[in-house]
């Protein structure tokens, strides 16, 4: 059932400070809406619970990509199209550029924001695995100040984050120190455009003399939140990826089976997801 739009209110104060004041003045009353590619779908389906919304669209303080020598800071209101167009995202953060390029259609990428993808907190979302392996740092902001938190701590449970009702996600910072790493990303879904993934992996590894010195695996749809596969990473660290890959792959599959908790839902089954996740990790290892 379609919602009755006249029951909803939306304000657009137009500046970051004014939005933060609105959130501070009536705690819990307003829900932010950025590109609306999640919330407007909920509205159309008659399941948008928030009745009062505050618009973040078109606020310049939230839509920026700032590059310094050692870091890139991305405003939460940056769209996937903005990310795809940025040369430093393309050169230094291929996993993020890749995720942006397969987040729905072009029209969706023109509106959907990186901040919305994180805060919406779907375990199936495409950017979180990349942000997890890059060990992004978030800045959360409210009328009373800002705080920085590692992105790895942001997701508390299924669709639950650290964000307080008076806070916005302000920015996402990535350190520019991944030049010696091999990267890998693959999304498995029903089709390329549009489809939310059944399983997705974003990965980085540093290999020296045929041995994995460091490996980072970020996954979508394998746990109740976007997550690093820490047990699998541990099982693979210092393993050889020279000629004899068998034992390395076996160790990865055992560790992965122990830590992934996929579910059955309309998009896929737990069994399929677990099997595909193992195959993706193997594909990454074979490419090292």
């Amino acid at each position: 059932m379609r919602s009755n739009v006249s029951q909803y209110d939306l304000i657009a104060p137009g500046s970051l400070a004014a939005v933060l004041n609105a959130l501070a003045d009536s705690p819990g009353e307003f829900t932010p809406i950025a590109g609306g590619t999640e919330l407007m779908v909920a509205l159309g389906a008659g399941r948008l619970e928030a009745k009062k919304l505050v618009s973040l669209w078109g606020i310049p303080e939230l839509r920026f990509i700032e590059v310094s020598e050692d870091a890139v800071t991305i405003g939460a209101g940056t769209t996937f199209t903005d990310l795809r167009r940025h040369p430093v995202i393309a050169s230094d953060f291929t996993l993020l550029a890749q995720a942006a390029s397969w987040t729905g259609s072009i029209a969706n990428q023109n509106r959907g924001t990186l901040g919305g993808n994180c805060v919406n907190a779907s375990p199936a979302a495409d950017s979180p695995p990349a942000l997890l392996v890059y060990e992004a740092e978030l800045t959360l902001i409210s009328a009373s100040g800002a705080r920085k938190v590692p992105y790895g701590k942001f997701h508390l449970g299924y669709k639950k984050t650290m964000l307080r009702p008076d806070e916005l996600l302000y920015s996402i910072q990535l350190k520019r120190n991944f030049s010696g790493y091999v990267s890998y990303a693959r999304k498995v879904g029903t089709r390329n455009a549009q489809a939310i993934s059944k399983v997705a992996i974003a990965a980085l590894a540093r290999v020296h003399g045929g041995v994995i010195e460091e490996i980072r695996l970020g996954a979508a749809s394998l746990r109740e939140t976007p997550a690093r596969l820490v047990a699998t990473e541990l099982a693979l660290t210092r393993r050889s990826v020279d000629a004899e890959l068998g034992p390395t792959i076996a160790a990865a599959r055992t560790a992965l089976a122990g830590e992934c908790r996929p579910i059955d839902d309309i998009r896929s089954t737990a069994k399929y997801r677990a099997a595909v996740a193992g195959n993706l990790v193997e594909e990454f290892l074979r490419g090292l």
Partner: protein, 155 residues
């Protein structure tokens, strides 16, 4: 209700509507521009695509207040003085339109694509139109129309 001013196909319009009303419904119900179609209402099909400040968007997912002050181009704004523009003409010649439900969105997505890539590769065409679903043509004729348009504008 909010009074909202936006530019539609070059003309400034002020409407009074609930701020969360979908741009799609404002176009069709308040402005009587029924060329913009509704397929899915959830961002999947592209039949409601319009250009907002030059960017392709699905108007079913835009609350009208977020379009305040924007420049919106719908299919009604594509023809020039009642004559089909180059993209429309190519869709006609190549059989890129059948029932017509996807066509307005396809045409605007094609404009957006050719703005970015005047000589698109087939992969770019496919990616650019991947958010626009068609139940009739099988896509081949649509791709032919886009290619033919790119070729003509190059010639």
């Amino acid at each position: 209700m909010s009074a909202i001013t936006l530019t539609i196909n070059g003309e400034s319009k002020t409407i009074t509507a609930p701020p969360m009303k979908r741009l799609l419904d404002v176009l069709r119900e308040d402005l009587h521009l029924t060329g913009t179609k509704e397929g899915c209402g959830e961002g999947e099909c592209g039949s409601c695509s319009v250009l907002m400040n030059g960017e392709l968007v699905n108007s079913c997912l835009v609350p009208v207040l977020q379009a305040a002050g924007a420049n919106v181009c719908t299919i009604e704004g594509v023809a020039v003085e009642g004559r089909l523009d180059a993209v429309q003409q190519c869709f006609l010649e190549e059989g890129g339109a059948q029932c017509g439900i996807c066509t307005p969105g396809m045409i605007l997505a094609t404009h957006h694509l050719l703005d970015k890539y005047p000589q698109p590769t087939m992969a770019q065409i496919q990616e650019g139109l991947a958010g626009n679903l068609c139940r009739c043509t099988g896509y081949k004729r649509i791709f032919n129309a886009v290619e033919s348009c790119a070729k003509k504008s190059h010639a």
